[in-house]
């Protein structure tokens, strides 16, 4: 159970005069739901963008499942086994729900020009497998009945689910979710929580950024708290809740 899946050490990132991240380290064990919390502007999304290759870090070492990986390009990170969602949903709006997930299968499939044109047996089989797997993933996240809808016409909560299904289609070892509960109502949050537990039960490891501290405390196995680009606490939820540095960061020094 306690094999380390993701080990990140000493990540720093500077935007001009702003030190967005300084010396952030993180260790996630296999099968965990790991939380990353912190006040607005603490650098959570920057950290996400760095480990998934959208931003280039100034320093840092990156290791996934015992092997170093280089977050130099997002597509390489996806291939290495980290899939992500976005804080502001980024679906392929004009494609159908099913097609969105099928795009997610891209990285684990290989038919290209020749297969597309000739449609030989290997290409047809692969296409059928992609279709089947995508539909299964949609059923898994609970939006299977919307498969032929246009993605942009889904409700907000379902768009979040679709993003998760699309990320799962890349067969990740680590699923990284950037504020998946943002803008959700209480019922939707409950549903999301159930989904995440279900994903964990499938043996996936999840890294989660979230503002909703209540949700995080109940869901995560471990947490790291960021403030001003620095990690100020790390541990199990019960300890984090009592940590004075965390309380100060969230509520101010006078408490």
């Amino acid at each position: 159970m306690s094999n380390t899946l993701l080990k990140i050490a000493d990540v720093s990132k500077r935007f001009g005069g702003l030190q967005a991240l300084s010396g952030v380290s993180l260790k996630i064990d296999e099968g965990q739901i790991y939380g990353l919390i912190g006040p607005n502007g603490a650098g959570k999304t920057t950290f996400f963008n760095v480990i998934t290759g959208l931003y280039q870090p100034d320093t840092g070492s990156f290791e996934l499942a015992g092997k170093p990986y280089s977050p130099s390009a997002p597509h390489a990170v996806a291939k290495a086994g980290i899939a992500r969602t976005f804080q502001n949903i980024r679906l392929f709006g004009d494609m159908t729900v099913l097609e969105n997930v099928m795009v997610g299968c891209h990285v684990r499939t290989k038919q290209t020009l020749l297969g597309a044109v000739l449609r030989h047996k290997a290409a047809r089989d692969e296409e059928a497998a992609i279709r089947k797997k995508s539909q299964q993933l949609l059923d898994f996240v609970g939006i299977g009945k919307f498969a032929s809808r246009t993605a942009r016409h889904l409700s907000y909560g379902d768009q979040r689910r679709l993003e998760i299904a699309r990320a799962l289609a890349t067969e990740p070892q680590l699923l990284a979710l950037d504020e998946p509960a943002a803008g959700m109502n209480a019922t939707e949050k409950l549903g999301l929580r159930e989904l995440l537990v279900k994903i964990q039960a499938e043996g996936k490891t999840v890294l989660l950024i979230e503002h909703d501290v209540k949700l995080m405390m109940g869901l995560c196995d471990r947490l790291t708290v960021l403030d001003y680009g620095k990690p100020i606490a790390e541990g199990v939820p019960a300890d984090i809740q009592k940590n004075p540095a965390v309380i100060e960061a969230y509520l101010g020094a006078s408490h």
């Binding site: 959208l54 976005f86 392929f92 709006g93 159908t96 020009l113 290409a123 539909q135």
Partner: protein, 405 residues
Amino acid sequence: MALFTFDKKRYPVQTNVSLVVTLLLLIAFPFIASQFGNSWVRIMDIALLYIMLALGLNIVVGFAGLLDLGYIAFYAIGAYTAGLLASPQFADVLQSFVDTYPTLGHFLVSVSGPDITQHGIHLTIWVIVPLSAFIAALFGALLGAPTLKLRGDYLAIVTLGFGEIIRIFMNNLNAPVNITNGPQGINLIDPIHVFGISLAGAPGSGSMVKFLGFSMPSVNAYYFLFLLLCIGVIFFSTRLQDSRLGRAWVAIREDEIAAKAMGINTRNVKLLAFAMGASFGGIAGAMFGSFQGFVSPESFSLTESIAVLAMVVLGGIGHIPGVVLGGVILAALPEILRHVVEPLQMSLFGKVWIDAEVLRQLLYGLAMVVIMLTRPAGLWPSPKHEDRPEADHPHGEPAADVVKA
């Protein structure tokens, strides 16, 4: 219920019927039209070339969402490929090398041999078509490479520049060594031969092509060749659209960052889009050169690029039947105007008030404005599922077909 449709996913039977009907009409067309002279078939010949171009551009602009304003460059590259490799021009090129750089020239002459030195290169269509596709694809990737990080307006400006660069090169590559013959263009390009039959007609036959005992005008023979190529291009396009690669293109169009995060190597996939689009343009260009027997830089101006883009946008960007429709309308319109407007004015007023060319530009502009106001997705856009939510599952079984497929 749509009787005439190409929405294969929803109406497979009607689509097949529509395809067969369309094909029969297209086959019958030249036999009927040639009763009224060759000009109508000739118009369709050119329209078919434009359809190939529009379908090629549709891959770049419609599928991958990369606005390319210099697409006509690949048409030019195809045409000049045919011009150099299927005409006496190459003999002039060698002569020019000998005159300007004797050492290099004599070396090239000795490599080429006496036949090429005297008569130029004359490759057959079986080599010209794949070669022009390949060369155009190569240039497509080359010109695409520097634009990979650009989007929208900036991409449009750079591609526009590339289009002009190619044309200006063709215009000026007659010195110090004469390769393209400059503004005069390349003449005497071989007509296309298929299985030993010249599509321009045997000498002295009055441009009649004899084939399996049939005899038809040269323009009809070209019509069938271009129709065949067009069907090939449509086949390629549809297959690509419904594939892993086609989905990756659309994903890039919809959201490039998300596409990257899903593991799509956007650099390679975009280059492939540029190359595929360009290769269709190259084939169309080679056919244009062989059909006309003559190429010159002025056929490849910016207005041509814009005309092809207009076909894609007006027809229905990203939707293959729509793009074909756009190609037919915009390619045939000016020719029809030319045949109708001036004689009509002559007979009505006894003099020509409005030049056909002026009227064409007027109508082009008007059509674009009206289309963008009333049908912004084009005349025949992709079927949208949410237009008719009840049609999501036409057989009343929710998504069951998806699982089975």
